[in-house]
Symmetry: C2
Subunit: 324 residues, 2 copies
């Protein structure tokens, strides 16, 4: 098989556009615009932990970048640069070509430049670091939610977890529904435009990578408020809508990999949020409200149509605890 | 064992100092100084490829950061921020505590802030992305070497490869020499101060991670020149100095993991280079000269004391080709 440097040259070296210097030196060089802050995030995806062995390489290339774009979206940052580190067990060039195609198709859709990285031998592991720009002081943090703010999510919840259940033969789905759910799992759409458009509107934001129950709790804790979510209004697709509530909640609030945005906004901004979603082509749904929180009160409560807490032990996805 | 978020909280969350926002949100936020460019590099270290199973966790934490600092040094950039992604097979907290200690000891020595990352389950894999600053336009690239420039290296060459040979029982060493060589392999010293001090002096620079033969060839090719290296003057430690030339060259130019700097500078700068090395506490040795290169001439020639090319097939380290 070709060596490390041949692989980098062949599949990952593209001319630098905005970067001062791209792939091919000890470091990439980037020159930030005046008045911006850089948002930086790293995600590592491991075979058997984050994706099943045998996952389509094109989709994996897409997802690798998508999960990082989603982190930028959650700060309201515009994507600019990516670094890609890749450990590969062997030298399957067809796999690598497909992976690179999936990665670059999404990168080009968002004008992201791959400016550096590392290619090495090892158990399949993909680590991307992404750099975005946001006007100074305007990033949307997790910590800005206020009591009485509404809680919103984009898109639908639980599709990816349902897709995983289908692949693991834990759920029986119609063929078209299965294809949709698996596509949501393997090729998620990061809500980049929506995240940027919510600057100045959302008071706090997070992306849903580990499930609403865990991620919204992180947001509420960072903001020092409580989150009260109405189970009946959680946006779900048709297969989940047909399920009994407890089972539906397992997917919709306990399932990871949605890569939707969850954010808070004042009630007065309702029309503005709806218009912003419409302009970005993403449904946005109000799912609850931030409440005051005292002492040992739970940071997240999910209530049924009568306002009673749902019996749910769903705690959000944890890569050390949850995956078999 | 504790979950992902507990581990991050316990071992990796430190208060942000220069960063606008550190560990704990979807992204870190950094605000570059005016007039600087950011140098960014990523290195992935995989058990069995870059380090032996059972490597001391403290040293691995050190090395993980050291190899990235070395990339910044090779650009003349000042280290600022790091992101750490870590896949761990299990939940050995003592291991993680030692790893974090080694990482942070070196980070603090260079005022590097850990601003984000990812912790997940998987075969042991450590991926660091590092961000440094360099005054705009003053980074030292690989591509600036000129014909007749001298070629220099810092420190000594081949110690790390000798340390690996010792651990793999391919070399017999005195106990003190073995400890030194293994320490050079497992806990390399990145030449950060020297790299920064060489701005305006070195015309091109690279760090020696894959062996002089490969790395200097990359530099020469990027600069469009040839490199002529004198075997007899390569700086080596006592155990290598006792070896026959061919064997010594195998370690000194073919061995990876030295993390010394190799750079070119005009002959007129000789005194300045020597003074700079002395000021930074690092020996610097002139090992050859850049020459003109036509057509298919080799980018790197190593010559003996009589000026004849050494018979060497050493080609530099390649993670896909070289490691058993």
């Amino acid at each position: 098989m070709p060596g490390e440097f041949d692989l980098i040259e062949k599949y990952f070296k593209r001319p630098a556009r905005h970067a001062r210097l791209g792939v091919g030196d000890d470091c990439a060089l980037i020159a930030p615009e005046a008045g911006v802050e850089l948002a930086v995030s790293t995600d590592m995806l491991v075979e058997g932990t984050h994706f099943l062995a045998g996952t389509d390489a094109y989709r994996l290339g897409h997802k690798t970048l998508a999960v990082n774009l989603s982190d930028l979206a959650a700060m309201g940052a515009t994507p600019r640069y990516a670094m890609l580190a890749l450990a590969l067990p062997g030298g399957d060039e067809a796999w690598l070509a497909a992976f690179a195609s999936g990665f670059f198709a999404l990168a080009e859709a968002h004008a992201v430049e791959l400016v550096g990285g590392d290619t090495t031998k090892g158990p399949l592991n993909v680590c991307v670091t992404i750099v975005g720009e946001v006007p100074a002081g305007r990033a949307i943090r997790r910590s800005g939610a206020q009591v009485d703010d509404d809680i919103w999510v984009s898109g639908t919840l639980g599709d990816a977890a349902l897709g995983l259940a289908h692949l693991q033969q834990r759920a029986a789905l119609r063929a078209d529904e299965a294809a949709h759910a698996v596509s949501r799992l393997e090729a998620p759409t990061p809500r980049v435009a929506l995240g940027v458009a919510l600057r100045g509107i959302a008071t706090a934001m997070i992306d849903l990578s580990d499930g609403l129950a865990g991620d919204l709790r992180h947001l509420a804790e960072a903001s020092g408020v409580g989150a009260r979510v109405e189970a009946a209004v959680l946006p779900v697709g048709a297969p989940l809508a047909r399920m009994p509530l407890a089972q539906r909640l397992g997917f919709a609030i306990g399932g990871g990999d949605d890569y939707e945005l969850c954010f808070s906004a004042p009630s007065a901004a309702t029309e503005q949020v709806l218009e912003t979603g419409a302009r970005c082509g993403v449904a946005v749904t109000k799912i609850g409200r931030m409440v005051g929180r005292r002492g040992a009160t739970a940071a997240l409560v999910v209530v049924d149509a009568d306002g009673n807490p749902c019996a749910t032990t769903v705690c959000g996805y944890d890569h050390f605890k949850a995956l078999a």
